[in-house]
């Protein structure tokens, strides 16, 4: 029978966690540290604003680029947070989460065969989005010893005549790594010299600990060469609302909007109303959640190190990425055995790229008692397997 799906799909490997998803789904009493979203509900003032908008009949499409009021609030937010000035009419686009923003960005800038440099390990959608846009992902290994930061030298070495862009995502999923401004400047230097665009996924930008949020577009000369992707899912606990944004120079936003208008039309209206409320009065609640993540982060990092799973200090997002090499298992074996023996779900590091092997991702967006119980179970597990 003639194959009915495009060959492009074959380039994208199947999701590494699908098998685990099925295993976990049938189990009772599992503590999951395998999620990628906050455990908090959306702050009530945000939800309530959306409910009110539904009662008032805001159930229609919005303009393709997003509600003008939201784009204005967003421009004001980027100005007060980073000092960046974006024209809300031409340089901002509201997307269905950063996921759509990423897809639009690569489709808007890549010609077939164009290469995109990205960190390995990295968020699973990065290589997939590039492949689906007929581009070529070029994964540059990052290492625990360097805090999983992408080095300017490594990026420089990966540049070819086909390189179109560098895709970075810091604070990072799965490692929790951050890039300080001086480290980002190394990437900017390569981008400037080789005339490359930078797609900067900053969905976790507010979730940083003991440091200020860093925005790539703030670097001198970088605003015009950066596609800044952000959203509301993580800091405002709004994953299900599907609202993100892209900020870039006019021609890029115009290109992305062209795709968005034919493929998504507009982002969810009630989500956009909720996002306006988040920007106007959600920061205190966001900070309360960030403070709680910070406390959990310290507990889990100390706990993992204490039980012999060495873990570098993640300064952002809500993930710890400990090394499991001391157990002698691969990351998939570790994740599967831990799930079956102790009912703790973590995600094996190689799901995020070959350099994630030897690590697992533990999400600490779960309650403190859950974290403590998970650590107790993991300690038992490590003890048992180390003595074998």
């Amino acid at each position: 029978m003639r194959k009915c799906t495009t060959g492009r799909l074959d380039k994208v490997p199947p999701s590494g966690i699908r098998r685990f998803f099925d295993l976990v789904a049938g189990m009772e009493g599992v503590i999951s540290m395998g999620v990628g979203e906050p455990d908090f509900s959306t702050p009530w003032n945000i939800t309530e604003a959306a409910i009110r908008s539904l009662e008032q009949g805001f159930t229609m499409y919005t303009s393709n680029a997003g509600m003008p009021e939201l784009r204005q609030e967003l421009a004001a937010y980027l100005k007060r947070t980073y000092g960046l000035e974006y024209d809300p009419n031409t340089e901002l686009l509201i997307t269905n989460g950063v996921s759509e923003g990423l897809d639009l960005a690569v489709r808007a800038i890549l010609d077939p065969g164009d290469e995109v440099i990205m960190p390995d390990p990295g968020y699973v959608a990065y290589p997939a989005a590039v492949l689906l846009a007929d581009g070529v992902p070029v994964q540059v290994p990052t290492h625990c010893e360097n805090g999983f930061r992408l080095s300017g030298n490594d990026v420089r070495d990966a540049v070819t005549s086909r390189t179109k862009a560098i895709l970075i995502g810091y604070p990072a999923n799965p490692t929790g790594a951050v890039m300080e401004m001086d480290k980002l400047a190394e990437i900017a230097d390569v981008a400037e010299k080789r005339r490359l665009l930078v797609i900067s996924d900053e969905i976790y930008s507010l979730l940083v600990y003991d440091m200020q949020p860093a925005c790539f577009a703030c670097l001198p000369g970088m605003k015009d060469h950066t596609i800044l992707l952000g959203g509301f899912s993580k800091a405002f606990a709004m994953t299900g609302w599907r609202i993100g944004y892209a900020a870039a120079r006019r021609e890029i936003i115009a290109g992305m909007t062209k795709i968005h208008q034919y493929t998504a039309l507009s982002s969810p209206t009630m989500g956009q109303v909720a996002a306006i409320e988040a920007l106007r009065s959600g920061e205190a609640e966001a900070q309360r959640m960030i403070d709680e993540y910070d406390r959990r982060r310290r507990v889990i990092v100390k706990g993992l190190n204490d039980i012999g799973l060495s873990c570098f200090e993640p300064k952002g997002a809500f993930y710890a990425f400990p090394s499991i090499k001391s157990t002698g298992m691969t990351s998939e074996e570790f994740a599967e055995n831990l799930l079956m023996e102790e009912k703790v779900a973590v995600v094996h590091g190689n799901a995020f790229g070959p350099s994630g092997e030897g690590h697992v991702r533990c999400c600490y967006a779960t309650s403190m008692p859950n974290i403590e119980e998970a650590l107790t179970r993991m300690a038992r597990f490590v003890q048992r397997h180390r003595s074998v």
């Binding site: 999951s32 455990d39 403070d291 406390r295 779900a345 995600v347």
Partner: protein, 160 residues
Amino acid sequence: MMRKVYEILENDARLTPKQVATMAGLPEAKVKKVIAEAEKEKVIVKYKTMINWEKAGDDRVWAMIEVKMQPQKDVGFDSLAQRIYRFPQVRTLYLVSGTYDLSVFVVGKTVQEVGLFVSQKLAPLDGVQGTVTHFLLKRYKEDGEVLSPGGEDKRQPLSI
């Protein structure tokens, strides 16, 4: 720094100084010192547990009583407030702005007992001009905690 320690303990008073130190990212000795000083200065007033008494089957009667008062020369409301809060039946007492002056939370075994306390102890006090008693019917949220939370985690068990 002190605020960090207070906030952690306010949320869970059972935590040891070592646990607080980990959560706050501070040396344990420093946390111990902060706690000792806060206890001495009565910044930390007491360590207690929040009980959902309704769930525990307790049938005591609670009331919130609005008290309107005549302020007294030199001492304002303080002297009268002191006379009121010394009654063991009074569990909470606030001076408030608005149409009345004191908000008094009282507990008793029966509606009659609370009623008698108001009519025989509270209302006759010099300076008390009037009282309005509201019996508590249901507690939804107390001290930031929802007493019957919706519960289960609605997230998918795994996601990237």
